[in-house]
Symmetry: C2
Subunit: 611 residues, 2 copies
């Protein structure tokens, strides 16, 4: 609350962050942000974490925000401090994560345009960089403060924008002279959020659409519900599970929605898509009504030919972002609902039909359950692998041993895919990556940010050799703040997922992926030693179980290198051009045909029609 | 030369790069660039260097370009691959370094806007990111290929733009489908460079201005010539030295022009500015005519109050960039010449007056030489320091030992400043940093890029503890490619330059700079071991000389940690508000007054006028 006392803008900024629940700010200081950082010296209710690279700082803030409940923030200096954030900002932008980034800027009188004739110079002030223009395409809002008097308005607006509608990151650029300016908070104008939410379907309109949804679901024979990342973002997990229980319909997730349903949930068929469970893909591809909540139906779900996705189903798409509903890439929802997942689910529960009105889909449920049993990710033959660790066996074992409230953060590429395929999520676990941006190097700093968010909780980081290297400087941050992150490095000597691509599409010409001594990896056990971190290496299946126990029970950070066979493949995986029910390696055609119930029905129909 | 045969766009790209003298491309492969990278498998006249982080790759290319003679290039995948480049791109943009960055992009049919309703979605294709819009403010040109047919035109145009006028980086974004498309080069349209150069003062106009310059110089009593980075960029070092010799005027450099004049050159007074030589600053501040060639007269030279810079001098500013000449921040050139440094200098030499027409400035030369002797950077008392190494003593010793064609790349902040202050450049040496952008972490990857450019030549990298950490992942690149970089780490346990700022302006509240265990540094000797690199530590002056010899004579890469006193200051340094002749610590006022000849002259004048 503003008081009637004068204060520095820098102190006001921290007041504001505290009011929004920020407890730790990820930062590197520098000339152009030193005045704001100085404000930390005057209080104990908010602290900073000094990181080693701003990119990692942005990723830490991203993970910190995902674990909530408060807002997340970074502070950086002008120029390289700010541009270093960008890949981390993209993570938040594409995955709808609110973060406030505060960048210092040169004094206003030193800036381009402050004096006549200076507008076109590449740079006027030292380390001056047009960060606002640069990040505009990858933020919900980016703004440079024009007077110290707007600090309250801008902070409130930035915070609102970052969280409202489809969330995302914001950047506030603050010239140095304003950082050390005095203001009287009581006299500052605040930001008034609009009365209407930024999505259109609310109240009566929403109610009407929900009634329509129930109509479609009630007459469905093979319905399926897809849970996307938006369900959790809306804080609607309880409501989702109530709806799931009420309907008894099969459930499928996107990767962003992965940790909304535990693997053993009896209605759960798996995550679906290009690297999905065969069971989940068959379920989606045989559905007659598909209700998707909070998923953008990305091509990693639909496959490269969206027109083949759930092609016999009436698709009901619920999304908060109009732009996602508007996409017409061959996949056209029968019913688009532009609203918040929580409002939608509450309205669904309010207008739910009675049990007996719901369709009897026990046959359909039996089929989907059979698929789930028939096509396990981790196949028995994998256990017999002699050289190196089979990654599916490893992930399964790790997921068996992980505690029920574990937080698991996989990186990108192969490691991400293996983790998402083989991890069997327990109730209460969190598991996420920067799915949309998917940079190499996210998992490790994100794990540090997660550990900071959860008061130094141990975090399971699943990383690759190339990816870990990208942000390896943060080993120092991990050591300095004693964050007990368990880093599992899947070492396959290079970029496995691209190697698989080269095998399939480039006649095994392995350029720049590690087969030709072009990409090499260090001895991670020695690197661990160098940073003073415990290192454990797993070479084969023999001592895998025991060593995983050792890593998880150790009290501090651990680097655990898991030596994979460099030919370890991603199985299954969709080949270019195929619809998602037909993952490679292809299953026998008669088995495949039997699973594609819709084809039989279509054949029947055309037969009936021909008669 | 285009032939009449069909070929892949990817192969054409490499053809083009080879034709522009690119021999090594810095890259990380990925799904969206794999087709271009695949083209390397079909030739031996161009190779790639696999880096560990694209940011470092961009910095390597920047240094590679600075050492020329050919063009420099990177290749990266879409999304994070491209955004990771940005801080490196800024280095090239602000320092006018040509580099061609080639980013892969998702297939055109997967992009935002390819299908109805998809324009407003944050992302459509996997890892799709609007890199062209993001980098527009920090490149000379950024463009996304719209059809495979324009590949020739776009490459030629990008190359031209990157090198013409004031050089800079360009980004070409190439959707995957075009990478694997076939073209017939003979049928492709090329780019026709404009007949006129992008600067206005050429031919007769330039000649007229050059005559005016000579008029001003001939009547000067205390002239000085400033060499900026533009002299070397224009390939005009010979011409500059001819002019210098012809006139016999005192010479001063900016940091970007630092390696254009050797320290022992008899006319050279030093580099000038906020952290300049007192001698150089007195020279500039007492000049009556100042001719500056290829320098933007940045605030790091002029000080925070440009109106006080060379305030009694008629300033002749020669710059290729109209926008730099147009700046009116208190400093207004008496004569602005918008042209290429080489054209200017050649015209100057062509129209040079005879020896006897030139002013006799032997007194002035004596004075500036006396200043140079009187105010050495490395003071005798420094040698007596007992605890830790005095950084000025160290840099002096290293510069004495470095061979005459050494390449020296300092990083940023304190380490950069100390290096630029105390290094005594020998003829033939190169010494540069990313002066305008000045990110932490430039020096190490730049040194690797320099070593690649010069066929595995040993490079002297001067780095800080915090800075080295920023790109420490490239240790692996150094080891893998056996690049004999000598990394000297000035370890002052945190961010020294900001600590000095906190001492001066923030009552010694040391937030986030390493005094409070917030910023910590690893044991670099153990890190070196971890990567399998030789480590040498210098703790005091006693064995400094011998250990420097050891580092420089060792055949491979070395990490040499130099343990500074954590209170090591930057001396001298300009305080906010002072004109550059009055560096702190301030010299005695009578000595200062005596040095400011212009003040005596002004007093004289006003006396005369009063009479």
């Amino acid at each position: 609350m503003p008081t009637n006392k004068k204060m520095l803008v820098s102190d006001y900024i921290l007041d504001f962050l505290v009011s929004q629940g920020v407890r730790k700010v990820f930062l590197i200081t520098g000339g152009a942000i030193a005045f704001v950082v100085d404000a930390f010296s005057r209080r104990k209710d908010i602290e900073y974490i000094c990181v080693a690279h701003e990119q990692a700082g942005a990723m830490m803030a991203d993970a910190y925000s995902r674990l909530g409940p408060g807002q997340a923030a970074t502070m950086v200096t002008s120029g390289p401090g700010a541009t270093n954030l960008i890949t981390g900002i993209c993570c938040s932008h594409f995955d709808s994560i609110p973060v406030i980034h505060i960048s210092g800027q040169v004094n206003q009188y030193e800036m381009r345009g402050a004096h006549p004739g200076t507008s076109d110079a590449r740079q006027v002030g030292f380390q001056e960089t047009q960060i606002v223009d640069i990040v505009a395409p990858i933020t919900k809002w980016a703004y440079q403060i024009k007077t110290e008097k707007e600090i309250r308005y801008v902070l409130e607006k930035a915070d609102y924008i970052s969280k409202s509608g489809r969330p995302g990151p914001v950047v506030i650029d603050i010239p140095m002279n304003f950082q050390r300016a005095e203001i009287n908070p009581a006299k500052l104008k605040g930001f008034k959020p609009p009365k209407k939410p930024p999505y259109r379907d609310i109240g009566k309109v929403l109610e009407k659409k929900v009634r329509k949804v129930w109509e479609m679901l009630v007459s469905a024979q093979r319905p399926v519900i897809v849970s996307g990342g938006g369900v959790r973002l809306a804080g609607a997990l309880d409501e989702f599970h109530k709806l799931a229980k009420l309907t008894g319909f099969p459930l499928v997730t996107s990767w962003s929605g992965f940790d909304s349903i535990s693997f053993n949930h009896k209605q759960y068929v798996g995550s679906h898509g290009v690297y999905g469970y065969r069971s989940a893909n068959f379920t989606v591809q045989n559905a007659d009504v598909l209700l998707t909540v909070g998923s953008r139906l990305d091509t990693r779900q639909t496959g490269g030919r969206p027109e083949t996705y759930a092609r016999e189903a009436k698709i009901i798409m619920v999304d908060i972002d109009r732009a996602e509903l508007a996409k017409r890439r061959g996949l056209t929802p029968h019913l688009s609902i532009e609203t918040d997942a929580k409002e939608f689910l509450n309205m669904m529960l309010k207008h739910a039909p009675s049990k007996k009105e719901l369709p009897n889909i026990s046959d359909w449920n039996n089929i989907t359950r059979q698929w789930k049993n028939k096509y396990p990710m981790v196949q028995k033959v994998y256990y017999k692998q002699k050289h190196g660790v089979n990654v599916y066996v490893f992930v399964k074992e790790l997921s068996d041993q992980a505690e029920s409230n574990a937080v698991i953060i996989p990186d990108d590429g192969g490691h991400l895919t293996w983790a998402m395929q083989a991890w069997e999520l327990k109730k209460g676990q969190r598991m996420f990556s920067a799915f949309g941006n998917s940079p190499m190097g996210y998992a490790f700093p994100a794990s540090l940010g997660a550990s900071v968010a959860l008061n130094k909780k141990p975090i399971i980081c699943i990383d690759g050799d190339g990816s870990l290297l990208m942000n390896i400087q943060e080993m120092q941050t991990m050591v300095n703040y004693k964050l007990p992150v368990k880093v599992f490095i899947f070492n396959n000597q290079g970029y496995g997922i691209i190697r698989q691509f080269q095998e399939l599409y480039l006649d095994r010409r392995f350029e720049a992926t590690g087969k030709k001594n072009d990409v090499t990896v260090p001895d991670f056990m020695r690197i661990a030693e160098g940073f003073g971190i415990k290192g454990i290496r797993i070479n084969s299946h023999i001592d895998m179980k025991r060593k995983i126990q050792q890593v998880l029970s150790y009290k501090g950070p651990v680097l655990c290198e898991v030596m994979l066979n460099s030919n370890q493949k991603i199985i299954p995986k969709l080949m270019f051009g195929n619809p998602i029910e037909d993952l490679s390696p292809l299953i026998p055609r008669d088995e495949f045909k039997k699973n594609m119930i819709i084809e039989a029905i279509k054949a029947d129909k055309s037969l009936t029609e021909a008669n």
